[in-house]
């Protein structure tokens, strides 16, 4: 360390700490800093690398870490049946390799327990734990007798059907504003499926050979009557029905074909695809008006294979003509 010091009488004029004393103090601080660095570095590095200093053997032993994170936080940790002071999220450091029992407990919640393996120099993460409450927070939403329901979180609405009374109810997601909004056709055969239109003004339900469309909003421009419209499919079995994004057309998948039909009285459908006999599976992407469906096809080896097709219904919908509709096998 340097010893360039201010000399002469000036050194004595600085008060209690002379210039020379300042330099001595500085030199002392410097060496103290070096000593702290040299002494502290092995411990910092060993801690960082997961080593533990054994005071009995005076040796470093490589250890591991258990990191615990829960939902909710603040959970009590039992480590090998011993309660720790820390609550989650927490880490248990300097663990020798091996298996450790962890139990997590929170009042009024189901406890969680597991044996956690610790490897040297590694972190065992227990960070996807959810503690579920003992008594779930239940809330009844319907205020009348109902048969089935369907929730629309984006529209913040729930629709209920009462098949016995043939009524449609609606409420918000908390069951508030519960009210009956439409009637279903009486004596409708067994309901296979139902769906509210994207504009929430209509609802269809379908059975094996009939589709009924009920109007939920009387202000809708296409509201023809208070009673539901019935669309019949006497010679075909309806497999699936979807709302088109315009909330006016229905995409109907039967056991023989796929057609589009307007939701109005006396409407006649436009057949888009004729299907081969066999089981059909379908998916309709309402945001893109895209229909995905399967159809069995006979290949060159004379065996039948199920193929997946995609059909866009949106842009050319109004150009469909019956004569355009062809079967995939044609």
């Amino acid at each position: 360390m340097p010893a360039i010091l201010e000399k002469g009488p000036a050194a004595d004029k600085y008060g209690p700490l002379t210039a020379r004393a300042f330099q001595r103090l500085r030199t002392g601080l410097f060496y103290l800093s070096v000593a702290v660095f040299c002494a502290g570095l092995p411990f910092i590095l060993s801690f960082a690398l997961g080593y533990k200093f054994n005071l009995h053997t005076f040796k470093f032993t490589k250890t591991g870490i258990i990191f615990i994170k829960t939902q909710p936080e603040g959970v009590s940790i039992y480590f090998n049946n011993k309660l720790l002071n820390d609550k989650t999220p927490a880490s248990i450091q300097e663990l020798l390799p091996g298996s450790y029992n962890i139990r997590l407990e929170l009042k009024n919640h189901y406890p969680w327990r597991a044996d956690v393996e610790v490897e040297e120099g590694k972190v065992s993460r227990v960070d996807k734990v959810i503690l579920f409450p003992l008594r779930p927070d239940l809330q009844q939403l319907n205020q009348k007798k109902i048969s089935v329901f369907r929730a629309y979180p984006q529209q913040r609405a729930i629709y209920y059907l009462d098949k016995d009374e043939a009524l449609v109810y609606k409420s918000d997601l908390n069951g508030e504003n519960f009210q009956d909004i439409a009637s279903l056709p009486e004596n409708f055969p067994e309901i296979t499926g139902w769906e509210v239109s994207p504009d929430q003004a209509k609802l269809f339900l379908f059975g094996a050979h009939q589709i009924a469309v009920a109007y939920l909003d009387s202000s809708d421009v296409y509201a023809y009557s208070d009673s539901p419209i019935i669309l019949d499919y006497p010679r075909r079995k309806i497999c699936k029905v979807f709302w088109h994004s315009d909330s006016y057309h229905l995409v109907v998948v039967t056991n023989k074909d796929i057609e589009v039909i307007e939701a109005r009285p006396q409407a006649s459908g436009v057949r888009l695809v004729r299907l081969n006999p066999g089981e059909v599976s379908v998916f309709y992407d309402g945001s893109e008006d895209m229909l995905y469906f399967t159809d069995p096809q006979r290949d060159a080896d004379n065996l039948i294979y199920n193929n997946l097709y995609k059909m866009e219904i949106s842009p050319n919908l109004y150009n469909f003509r019956a004569d355009h509709a062809g079967g995939l096998n044609e």
Binding site: G8, A10, Y14, L17, F22, S33, G40, A48, G121
Partner: protein
Amino acid sequence: MNRKFILKRFLEIIPGGISWGLIITLVFLAIFKPVACAVFIIIFDFYWIIRTVYLTLLLALAHHRLSRQKNKDWLRLCQDKIFSRRWDRLYQLVIFPVYNEGPEVLRPSLKALAASHYPKDKIIVVLTFEQRNPGAKENALKLESEFAGAFFTQMSTFHPDGLPNEARTKGANATWGAKFAREFLDNRGIHYEDVIISCFDADTCVEKEYFGCLSYNFLVSDKPHQSSYQPMPVYNNNIWQAPGFARIVEISGSFCQMIESMRLEKFVTFSSHSMSFKTLVDIDYWPVNMISDDSVIYWKAFLFYNGDYRVVPLYITVSMDVAYARNIFKTMGVQYRQKRRWAWGVENFPFVVSGFLSRKHIPWFIKIRRSFHLLESHVTWAVWAVILVLIGPLPLFFGGAFFNQMAIGYNLPKITGMLVNFTLFTSLVWIVLSRSILPPRPKTVSWFKNIVMLIEWFSVPFVILILGSTPAIDAQTRLLLGRYMEFNPTQKGIKCYNVKNGDFPENVK
């Protein structure tokens, strides 16, 4: 190419090569060997914590000395009978090298001189203007008439452009002014050893007791002619008006200088400083083709006296302007260029090392130690913020799942967090000390600015990266590539008259 040129280029490449080598090596380590990189970062973090605490303690000690010596009647001490005969002969020669600063910048500086607590018939002022500046003569006449009779003499001289072997640097202008003053001293029969020369930036305002303090330290020094005298630079002239980050940078700069004043073995002249005129003549004045004239003058003297030369810290402030412009982006640019110019002090390294190689009388121990200090300070300046702010998180980013499930991957952010907490603690000390060196708040500035000035310290990580490391890397890269910088004076002139000295006489005639 001769050997001298090859040696010079080799030495120029070393600082930038080490800085870039460190940064690139650490980035590669973070990608391919994240554990090794993390180990290095943890060692560096710990080193930085210790260093920060140590330097903060030195700052507190320097601040203690500064506050103890504030308002001391140095002149009375000089008049002590021990020194009185020598003091009677002393003259203060003050040179202001003027680039293109106008009277609005120089006037407060001259007023501060005129208001200083020192016999005015012992103060010689030389304003050395650049001849190429079209308004120079008019400004000189204006200032001469305003300050006529305020000093023993006030002279103006005009440094011609394009003298042989000269670059457009402040050192060339100051040298011209010093040679001009030498003629004056010769004509008056004043001995060089009785003259202390102070080379001040145009915006430098001295405290009232500056020349008393300087004279006293000169008189009590064992080797007054083998010493430079360095006051503590503060940027108080317009600090209340400057943008937050510029203020932080300048306060940090002042603090760094105060810390350096406690490390005498590393202490080098910076910005405005003073020395014996005899020594200046002996070592052939300031360099006329180097930008960092303020530090090179120290190294010239150090080499001339074979290592027996020192810088004596003066615990008294000289106040300058915070460099800023009309909007925040331009201020950022001004600050960046100023810091790059300071960082260009890295050009001292090849100058000093090649000087050491040709001097046999300087002990090898001193040569190695001083060269190492110089190199280490510039490399640290360039890389420390990059390592802490940018490279620190890289092992976590590139290490992937394997690294993150290792103990070191888990502990790295915890230890880095500890560093941040320590930095916050030391920042608190810096904040408290910074308040004590601030001038009183002008009445035109809102009280709310006090709060703003506290909050702006949170911008330190951003500021140190943008205006700390980056200009230093820029300067070192230019030197490495041989793309030498030209002198680029800092834009100043937005000045708030009176600050610390406050009571400049309205009419000094």
